[in-house]
């Protein structure tokens, strides 16, 4: 694990409120891992790691002061990374169903596993994407109902999106990237608990990606 500075390379707008932020630095990480980025907020902020145009990148949706700082103000960030576990998809053809906040991870998985990607965005996407996207709940729901033939599914977006996919796709190989408030990202603070069939687990050390039968 590293605890060091990263510097901002580019900011690329995806839709209304979500931006890809690329870094100048290169470091090793596995698909599914995340980073905790320092901002003026009292806690560091977790983001899923991915790639964009050969750079390490996160995709950040503006929520409050911390995300606003990362996208619009900060140039150099203290951060610790990589955190959490590698996502190892089962064999076969998979699809990543993601909101724009997961575009950089989707991109990485797409390149590595040639899996399909479906981006579901609330608002118009302003960026040319190398994979399919739909805008709005209605189109998203329709689309999901047609996706029955994949060997695995990774859903990463809002709770609403995750629940919709879970209740419409029956495969046991549906994986979900969970979000809970994170204080530390390293298993110390116990803020990111999820209650699973095997008892209490932590998104930061046991996840962030869980298979549906765990939940």
């Amino acid at each position: 694990m590293e605890n060091t500075y990263l510097t901002k390379k580019d900011v690329i707008q995806i839709n209304e409120d979500t931006f890809i932020v690329t870094f100048n630095e290169k470091f090793k990480f596995d698909e599914g891992q995340f980073i905790m980025i320092q901002t003026p907020s009292l806690t560091r902020k977790p983001f899923i790691l991915g790639t964009w145009e050969d750079n390490i990148a996160v995709s950040v949706q503006i929520k409050g002061k911390g995300t606003n700082y990362i996208v619009f103000q900060g140039e150099k960030f203290k951060a610790h990374f990589p955190l959490g576990n590698k996502f190892i998809p089962p064999a076969g053809k998979g699809i990543v169903i993601a909101s724009p906040t997961c575009i950089t991870l989707a991109n990485l998985l797409h390149e590595k596993y040639s899996c399909n990607v479906l981006i579901g965005s609330k608002s118009k996407i302003n960026l040319e994407l190398p994979f399919e996207s739909v805008v709005g709940n209605e189109d998203f729901s329709k689309k999901i109902k047609t996706l029955k033939t994949y060997d695995w599914y990774l859903v990463s977006g809002s709770k609403q999106m995750e629940e919709f996919v879970l209740s419409n796709i029956e495969s046991k190989n549906v994986f979900v990237s969970l979000e809970e408030y994170m204080g530390c990202g390293i298993g110390a603070c116990k803020s990111c608990a999820v209650f699973t069939k095997d008892g209490v687990k932590h998104v930061c050390t046991d996840g962030p990606i869980f298979r549906r039968d765990m939940l």
Binding site: M1, N3, Q38, S41, L42, T43, R44, K78, H80, E180, Y181, M182, G183, C184, I186, G187, A188, C189, K190, S191, C192, A193, V194, F195, G199, V200
Partner: protein
């Protein structure tokens, strides 16, 4: 207790040593483990944490594996890199006494044993162990007997009774130190949802300073670990000025673990 530097990692935010992967142990005087209870606890339901401008609110609910697990894995819990302070908690007099008895054979492995009498996130009829002051005094008395050689620290906050009144009792029963203060109960409404828990971070500083000032006024020779909103050298100076012997880093770990190195270095240079 002799800590060099007089900087302690607070119970809870530090987990059971996880932050040693991010900070240099040279600058940690002692590392307090997350509070352990008699029985394992899976903690409160989520959301367990939220931040506001000048505080963090948490309701972890003392998630911990229980004392038996700690004893069975004692070498994992006694940290190699720094001195370790064990933190123990409970919901009733019996639990406090039993846990003290269980740990007694291993007590020497810890630099000190801290008893958390102030967690705002567990309940005994809605309140903490301090709601019955007589019962609480029996705990002080019994634990002192069960752990005669340990450096015993009571962790208090400002609710339940006046902190200086409670602190005098702690001293009366022969305990060695105080950690002041634990989180204060708070409530935040974010996006229309109520988040309840204990407040930590900058909001606690003026309250903790006052608590320590008042306690030091009545107790000249008890060891006081300051806890509450310590992030900067000015914070360290202020807490030393009102009479703290050591300072503790809790929420600041979440902002920047390097604060430990910065303040640890600073404290190594300060005449204590």
């Amino acid at each position: 207790m002799n800590l060099n530097p007089p900087l302690v990692i607070a119970s809870g935010p530090g987990g059971s040593g996880e932050y040693l992967s991010l900070i240099n142990p040279k600058y940690v005087g002692a590392y307090t483990l997350k509070t352990i209870t008699l029985n394992p606890k899976s903690g409160n339901k989520t959301k367990r944490m939220e931040n506001s401008e000048n505080y963090i609110i948490n309701s972890i609910g003392l998630e911990n594996p229980g004392i038996e697990y700690v004893i069975s894995n004692i070498e994992k819990f006694v940290l190699k890199e720094t001195k370790t302070i064990l933190s123990l908690g409970g919901d009733s007099k019996d639990e406090y006494i039993k846990i003290a008895e269980k740990i007694a054979p291993y007590a020497k492995k810890f630099e000190a044993i801290e008893f958390n009498f102030s967690c705002p996130n567990v309940k005994k009829g809605g309140l903490s162990i301090l709601s019955d002051i007589n019962e609480w005094q029996e705990i002080l008395e019994n634990v002192r007997k069960i752990l005669p050689d340990s450096f015993l620290i009571a962790k208090l906050s400002i609710e339940g009774n006046f902190v200086e009144v409670l602190s005098k009792k702690v001293k009366e029963f022969g305990w060695n130190g105080l950690t002041l203060i634990n989180c204060v109960r708070g409530l935040l409404i974010k996006d229309g949802k109520i988040v309840m828990g204990g407040l930590s971070g900058p909001i606690l500083k003026p309250i903790a300073l006052r608590a320590i000032y008042e306690v030091r006024k009545v107790l000249k020779d008890i060891y006081i670990i300051a806890s509450g909103g310590i992030y900067t050298k000015k914070d360290v100076d202020d807490f030393l000025l009102v009479g703290a012997n050591a300072i503790s880093i809790g929420s600041a770990l979440f902002k920047d673990p390097q604060v430990v190195e910065e303040l640890g270095k600073y404290l190594k240079g300060v005449e204590r």
